[in-house]
Symmetry: none
Subunit: 318 residues, 2 copies
């Protein structure tokens, strides 16, 4: 129970999460909503409340624009989606980031709040946020094995899920697909997750003040074209890979399991394909042989295979 063995909630509406979808823990509804909406952005109408709707379980359907905005805000992205299971590292990373952000209370970057355009800013903001990343990310203080995702790619500082990839989608409608948004999820948002802080804020859809301004800033949007060529490191294995960011060393893509200490293999650029999309967290089957978490010095040689699974003993719908 390092982190909390707690039931995950939908980051969008607060309902019990059905799983990790599109880069965030979400419920079925929000998952479907996002999946559908993304392919049909035109169906969304402007927010009537100046984009200040608070999304929760009750009113999540009240305003699509804000719901979608929050989806993006919490890190959901189709660009980063792909087949198959997400690596645990990926999820851990997402959670850690979230926690870290929570520890560092709001103080939302004003950048984010700069605009409240219903859709325009909301949807267009998916530009790569270059630097807004909270400083904590760069600090080595991070206790977790996961260090910063990757220095070389600003986008990755945020949710890696979003960082790369976009070609995966067949293009399509709006600028969304090509965005490399860095949703720096500043959570701690107004209690929308757990809510229940106040009387019953959930009834009201409009908050007193700005909720989540656009999670992303309107930055020069360099990431997209650049992404594929950022650097070999990233493309080699995976942006999330904590190892990759280790100073001086890099992990060989072919040696996923080797402990960090043994990393010294320079990344040969030989034949590495620069791919815009690489969310796969290849590599670390680590837990066994080379868990960053467990030092070799620890007793637990094996076991504790890093189980990220948690059974939600949740109610079965009544």
């Amino acid at each position: 129970m390092i982190l909390e063995k707690m039931n995950q909630q939908c980051k969008v509406c607060g309902e019990p999460a059905a799983g990790f979808h599109f880069g965030a823990f979400t419920c079925e509804g929000c998952k479907s909503f996002f999946g559908r909406t993304y392919n049909n952005l035109s169906s969304i109408s402007e927010c009537k409340n100046n984009g200040e709707c608070v999304i929760n379980k009750k009113n999540r359907t009240a305003c699509k624009a804000c719901r979608l905005r929050k989806c993006l805000y919490v890190g959901m992205s189709k660009s980063g989606s792909r087949y198959g299971r997400r690596s645990n590292w990926f999820k851990i990373h997402c959670l850690l980031q979230e926690q870290q952000q929570q520890q560092q209370p709001s103080t939302l970057p004003q950048i984010l709040q700069s605009q409240n355009h219903p859709l325009a800013s909301q949807l267009s903001y998916l530009h790569c946020s270059q630097q807004q990343q909270p400083s904590h990310q760069n600090n080595n203080k991070t206790p977790s094995p996961l260090k910063s995702p990757l220095p070389s790619s600003p986008c990755m500082l945020t949710n890696p899920f979003l960082s790369v990839g976009r070609h995966l989608l067949n293009g399509s409608h709006m600028c969304m697909d090509k965005t490399a948004a860095g949703p720096n999820r500043v959570s701690s948002n107004s209690s929308s997750d757990s809510g229940a802080s106040s009387a019953d804020p959930e009834d009201s859809i409009v908050s007193n003040k700005d909720i989540y301004g656009s999670p992303v800033v309107d930055q020069p949007f360099n990431c997209k074209p650049m992404a594929k060529k950022l650097d070999p490191v990233r493309s080699i294995s995976e942006p999330l890979n904590p190892y990759l960011v280790l100073p001086h060393v890099t992990i060989s893509p072919a040696s996923p399991r080797s402990p960090p200490t043994s990393l010294s293999v320079p990344i040969s650029s030989s034949g590495i394909q620069e791919e815009p999309i690489d969310l796969s967290v290849k590599s670390q089957k680590r837990s066994r042989t080379a868990s960053p978490i467990h030092n070799t010095t620890e007793n637990v040689p094996k076991l504790t295979p890093l189980d990220l699974t948690l059974v939600r003993s949740n109610s079965l719908s009544g």
Copy 2:
């Protein structure tokens, strides 16, 4: 060690390889794909691009037929696979071959290319050997979705793992009816709905022509250590591509998935103090199918309209 750890890439899609699987360095995905597909060839549909898809990390899921073809092309085979480590000789050989291939650029032997049925005749040879498919497998197979297995693979020719290759080359006539092929160039973009506008060559799944021209010609190589285990005869016993020679049959419904999972915690600490992080959200979804009991124990909380579960899909096939 070094051999294995070298920066290997998946020979199929180019992604960092997870190891040496089924006779070639492949990623997890391609490994799983091949392992699965081989046992259920009927699940593969014909290539929409006349078998000219280029497989890479991005689009590898776009066309199964071509992906499988490339798997075979790079030398993957279940017949040669086995547990345990590969001898260094074997791997070295594979690497050497590869290097040699690279040295010999695209001067593809047109021997194979010259004809519309690259390997067709070679694989058709398999038609004679009836021993195929040890697995339970249904006999009904689709009419070779794979347009043609592949031009002779470099590996197939010399890779001890696939001694079959040589024999295949001696094959005689072709049994496939469609190898000669219809120029049915399906113009419809296979996977893109709205069409990608990227110029990135990798975005496109279709190449101009000549996808895998066999890069290499035969090169004798004796793999002594392996010889005892991989005599040609044995390998031959199992056709590389049973499919191609199989009669035209309808597709049978896919085999059922894995049995319902229990809701219990998968690992829980086995004497360990710390609890693993559990992010999964197993829950109600499966409870329904997994445990019908649910209905009895509870008093129809929400009322299930009908219970056509599992019935539905069956009706579809036909």
